[in-house]
C-alpha cells in the first residue's frame, strides 16, 4: 500500500485484515522490517510541506516527508530542529522520527522530539481521521495526543501529518574533546557540568573515557565561554568548523557502528552507566552515551536474546532501531505498558496495528 493522502491511509486502515506495520523511509530497519502475518503501510509517498511560516517558528508537513528535505528548508531560513533527529541521511521521515521518538545529541539543550511536536493528524485503528494538538507553540486544549504518539511506533494509529516547533539555528559551534583517565573521571567531569551555568548544547561520552562537550553561539562570546569550559574541565582539544561539525554528524548518523551491528536505544541515567559499561565491555558491542548520560546507544553484534537479558538484569528498557525483524522493545518492560494497552484498547480496538 502506498497512500498519497490521509484519506487513502484511512482507507488502507479500514480495509486491512492483518496488523499494519507503518514504514516511512525504512531507515530504522529493526522497526520497518516486517514479519509474516503483517502488512506494511508505506508512507513514503505521503509527503510534502503543507505550511511553513518562518516568523511563526512552526511548520506542518505530511508524515512521509524526508527529514533531509525539512532540514534543508529550515536551514535556508536560519532555522532547525535542534534535537537533530537521527538517520536523516538514511531516508528517515518526519513521521518515523516521531513514532520512534529518536533524538540526536542536541536533545540536551532544548529538549527532544516530544518537546517540539505541536500537533498531529492521525488515523486510529477505528479508522477515524483525527486531530490532536494544534499549530501554535503553546496549547493546552484537549488530550496531548501529539506527545502520546512519540515513541508509540505506530501502535496506536498512523500519523499522517505533523506540526513541529523550530528554533533559530546557532551561528557557530565549538566542541571540547576531553580525554579522561577513566570512565568515572569522565562521568565526574560531566557531573560538574550539570549544575554550572554554562549553556551547554550537547554532552556525549565515547567509552572508555572521552568526554565531548559542545557549545553553540557565536562570536567573541563563544570563545569566552569555551575558555570558561576549559577552566572548569581542564585542557582538552578544541574543535571548530567543519571538523567539529563532522564529529557530531557522525555521532548522529551512527557512523561508529560496525557493519552488521544492530543498534539499540536505551534511556539511562549517569548513575547507571558504570554498571552497564562494566557489563558490556568485552562483549561484542560498542556504546555511546549521549544527552548528558541520559541516552545510551548500544551497537550489538550478538544474539538479541543476550542483550535482552543483559538489559533486563540492569532494569533497563531498550528500543531496537537498526537490525533484523523482531520484537521492537527489549530488556525490562517500559513503565506503564499495561496502561498503554488500555489506551490501545480504545484507539485500536480491533488490532489494526501491531500490538504493544
Amino acid at each position: 500500500m502506498l497512500p498519497t493522502s490521509q484519506y487513502e491511509v484511512q482507507e488502507a486502515v479500514l480495509q486491512s485484515s492483518v496488523p499494519l506495520r507503518v514504514r516511512g523511509g525504512g531507515s530504522k530497519s529493526a522497526l520497518s522490517t516486517s514479519s509474516s502475518g503483517e502488512a506494511v503501510l508505506e508512507l513514503s509517498s505521503l509527503n510534502g510541506v503543507l505550511e511553513y511560516v518562518p516568523e511563526e517558528f512552526t511548520f506542518t508537513a505530511r508524515a512521509g516527508t524526508q527529514l533531509s528535505e525539512i532540514e534543508d528548508m529550515l536551514a535556508q531560513n536560519g532555522q532547525w530542529l535542534p534535537f537533530d533527529p537521527p538517520l536523516g541521511g538514511r531516508g528517515a521521515t518526519l513521521g518515523g522520527a516521531l513514532a520512534a521518538g529518536l533524538s540526536g545529541p542536541g536533545r540536551y539543550r532544548f529538549g527532544g522530539t516530544r518537546d517540539f511536536v505541536l500537533g498531529v493528524q492521525w488515523v486510529s485503528g477505528t479508522g477515524d481521521l483525527l486531530r490532536g494538538g494544534g499549530r501554535v507553540v503553546k496549547n493546552a486544549s484537549g488530550f496531548d495526543f501529539p506527545k502520546m504518539m512519540v515513541g508509540s511506533l505506530g501502535r496506536f494509529g498512523v500519523v499522517t501529518e505533523v506540526t513541529f516547533k523550530v528554533f533559530p539555528v546557532a551561528q557557530q559551534f565549538s566542541t571540547m574533546v576531553l580525554e579522561c583517565d577513566s570512565l568515572n573521571d569522565a562521568l565526574e567531569a560531566m557531573t560538574r557540568l550539570s549544575s554550572c551555568p554554562l549553556d551547554i548544547f550537547s554532552i556525549d561520552i565515547e567509552p572508555p573515557a572521552t568526554l565531548l562537550v559542545r557549545l553553540a553561539g557565536e562570536g567573541r562570546a563563544l570563545s569566552l565561554r569555551m575558555r570558561r569550559l576549559g577552566e572548569l574541565l581542564g585542557d582538552g582539544e578544541i574543535l571548530l568548523g567543519e571538523q567539529e561539525e563532522d564529529l557530531w554528524v557522525q555521532l548522529r548518523d551512527f557512523s561508529w557502528l560496525s557493519p552488521g551491528e544492530c543498534l539499540i536505544k536505551v534511556p539511562i541515567t549517569p548513575a547507571v552507566i558504570p554498571t552497564l559499561e562494566a557489563r558490556l565491555v568485552g562483549e561484542k558491542s560498542q556504546r555511546r552515551y549521549s544527552v548528558g548520560g541520559n541516552l545510551a546507544w548500544i551497537g550489538w553484534h550478538g544474539d538479541v536474546n543476550e542483550i535482552d537479558i543483559i538489559l533486563s538484569e540492569s532494569n533497563l528498557s531498550g528500543l531496537r532501531v537498526l537490525g533484523s525483524a523482531g520484537a521492537a522493545w527489549v530488556g525490562a518492560p517500559a513503565s506503564a505498558m499495561a496502561f498503554a494497552r488500555r489506551v490501545k484498547d480504545v484507539l485500536d480496538r480491533e488490532g489494526k496495528f501491531l500490538p504493544i
Partner: protein
C-alpha cells in the same frame, strides 16, 4: 451507596479534623479562581499521605462517588470546581519534597508542593524549576501537571509537560501506575505526555519527578513603552526574526498598565499604549553579546521610553507589575473573565484590532496582557456583575474572542486548560470525531465516570453562580 455510608467510610480513613463536612468548612472550597462557578461538595478531605489519597479514590470508585482533586484552587478555568454529589480531595498537605538530585538535575515531589517551593529547594544547588505561572508562589505541582501550566518562559523552555520526567498516578479505578522515570529519554509511548494536561480526567498524580535546569547566570530585562500596540507587536516580530531567543517576551496594554499602577507602584508609564518586556537569560558572556543586539533593535523601534534593569532589584521591579497584573485588575473592575487563547504570532496585530472592535461592539472594556513570544493572549473582559445581564454579555464577548483566536489559526487555551469554562469551545477546535475519541479514552480510563466529571467536554451541566 447512601451518602451517610460514604461519609462514614471516609471517616474510617480520615480523622475528623481532616474530613470537612460542615457548611462553613465546605463553602471556602466551593470555587477556585473562576468564581463564576460554585458548587458545594459533600465533603472535603485533607490527606497527608499518598495512601490516604489512594484509599479515598478506591472508596469513591467502589461507591461511584465523584471526586475532584484540588491543589491550591488557583485554576482560572474551573478545574477545581467541586461536584455537588462528590468529594473534594484537597492535596495541599501532600507536600513532601522527597528529594532533590543535583547530579541528575531532578526533583521528586508530592502533588501538593508549590511550584516555587521546588525552585527554592533546588536553589542551593544552583538549579531551578523552569515553568513559572504567575500563581507560582501557591499553585501546586499537581495542579500544574493536571493543566500543563505555562508561564512567561514557554517559547524557549516549553510548558510543564516538557519538564516532567515521571509520575506516579492513582487512576480513577484505584490502580496505581508509574509512568516515565528519571531519564530525559524513554522508550514506549510517551504516557507522561498524555497524562500531563488531562485535567484530572485520568486520575491523580501523587508523586512527580521534575526536570531541573541550572539557574541562568545572568538576565537582561528591558522595558519599552510604545504609543501604539502595533509598534510593540512589530518590535516583537523584529526581535524574533533576528534569531534571538529571549527567555520571555510580554506585552501589557494601557488598561492593564493603569490597573497595575493603581495597585502597586511598578513605575510603569501610564500613558503608554503598550509596554513590552523582553528578557534575555543565560550565560553572562552570551547574554551581554545578545543584549547589544537587543538594545539596537529596541532603540531602532518606535519605543518612546526604554528602561533596562541593572540589577536583580530593578529586574524584580519590572516584573512585579506583570506578575501581579491579573490581581491588579481587581482594582479597576468589579469582576473580569480571563481568556487564554493563542494565535500565531504574525496574527497578533490583526487579532488585537478585532478584539478592540468587539470590545466597542459589546460596550465592555478588555484589558490585554499577553505572552507575545508564544502568541498566548490573556484578554480580560471587565464587567460589573452587580448589573443585570452583564455577566452574560461578558461571557458572550469572551466566547467571541476565543472563537476569533481559532479562526486565525490558534487554539482556545494556551495554559489555563479547558476546565468548566471553555468546554463548549472545544467544538471550535475539534471535530465531533476528535471529541468522541477523547471521550472514549476518558471513559475507558474512568469507567464509572467519577474523575473530575463535567469538565473539558461540551454538552454537560453547569453549576450556577
Amino acid at each position: 451507596m447512601a451518602a451517610r455510608r460514604f461519609l462514614s467510610d471516609l471517616a474510617a480513613i480520615f480523622p475528623s479534623d481532616r474530613l470537612l463536612t460542615e457548611r462553613a468548612q465546605l463553602i471556602p472550597y466551593e470555587s477556585d479562581a473562576l468564581t463564576a462557578f460554585r458548587a458545594l461538595p459533600r465533603a472535603v478531605v485533607l490527606p497527608e499521605s499518598q495512601d490516604e489519597v489512594i484509599e479515598t479514590v478506591q472508596l469513591c470508585y467502589r461507591a461511584s462517588i465523584p471526586f475532584v482533586a484540588r491543589g491550591s484552587g488557583t485554576s482560572l478555568s474551573g478545574g477545581a470546581l467541586p461536584d455537588e454529589d462528590g468529594v473534594v480531595i484537597a492535596l495541599n498537605r501532600l507536600n513532601r519534597i522527597i528529594r532533590v538530585d543535583a547530579e541528575h538535575r531532578l526533583a521528586v515531589v508530592e502533588a501538593g508542593v508549590s511550584n516555587l517551593a521546588v525552585s527554592k529547594a533546588a536553589a542551593p544547588y544552583g538549579l531551578y524549576y523552569v515553568p513559572d505561572p504567575s500563581s507560582q508562589s501557591i499553585c501546586t505541582i499537581g495542579g500544574n501537571v493536571a493543566f500543563n501550566s505555562g508561564g512567561a518562559h514557554c517559547l524557549k523552555y516549553g510548558m510543564t509537560s516538557n519538564h516532567v520526567l515521571g509520575i506516579k498516578v492513582v487512576l480513577p479505578d484505584g490502580d496505581i501506575v508509574e509512568m516515565g522515570g528519571e531519564s530525559l529519554e524513554g522508550v514506549g509511548p510517551d504516557l507522561v505526555g498524555l497524562f500531563v494536561g488531562s485535567e484530572g480526567l485520568f486520575g491523580i498524580a501523587l508523586e512527580i519527578t521534575l526536570r531541573l535546569l541550572p539557574v541562568p547566570e545572568s538576565y537582561r530585562t528591558v522595558l519599552a513603552a510604545y504609543s501604539s500596540m502595533k509598534d510593540a507587536g512589530d518590535t516583537v516580530a523584529t526581535v524574533v526574526a533576528s534569531g534571538l531567543l529571549p527567555g520571555a517576551i510580554e506585552i501589557m496594554d494601557n488598561l492593564t498598565i493603569q490597573a497595575v499602577e493603581q495597585s502597586f507602584d511598578a513605575g510603569y508609564p501610564t500613558d503608554a499604549a503598550a509596554l513590552l518586556i523582553v528578557e534575555l537569560e543565560g550565560e553572562a558572556n552570551q547574554v551581554e553579546q545578545e543584549f547589544v543586539e537587543l538594545e539596537k533593535i529596541i532603540n531602532n523601534s518606535a519605543a518612546y521610553s526604554v528602561r533596562s534593569a541593572r540589577d536583580d532589584i530593578e529586574r524584580s521591579q519590572i516584573w512585579k507589575g506583570r506578575k501581579g497584573a491579573f490581581g491588579a485588575l481587581g482594582a479597576i473592575t468589579q469582576a473580569y473573565i480571563v481568556q487564554d487563547g493563542v494565535v500565531p504570532r504574525t496574527q497578533l496585530g490583526a487579532v488585537l484590532s478585532e478584539i478592540d472592535e468587539l470590545s466597542v461592539q459589546y460596550g465592555l472594556r478588555v484589558a490585554n496582557v499577553f505572552h507575545a513570544g508564544d502568541g498566548n493572549l490573556h484578554p480580560n473582559v471587565l464587567y460589573d456583575g452587580s448589573q443585570e445581564g452583564m455577566l452574560e454579555r461578558a461571557e458572550q464577548l469572551a466566547g467571541e474572542i476565543t472563537k476569533l483566536c481559532v479562526r486565525h489559526g490558534g487554539v482556545i487555551t494556551g495554559e489555563h486548560g479547558v476546565g468548566m469554562e471553555k468546554r463548549d469551545y472545544m467544538r471550535e477546535m475539534f471535530a465531533e470525531v476528535d471529541l468522541e475519541m477523547m471521550q472514549r479514552l476518558s471513559r475507558a480510563i474512568d469507567p464509572r465516570g467519577i474523575a473530575n466529571v463535567g469538565k473539558m467536554f461540551p454538552g454537560q451541566g453547569v453549576p450556577g453562580v
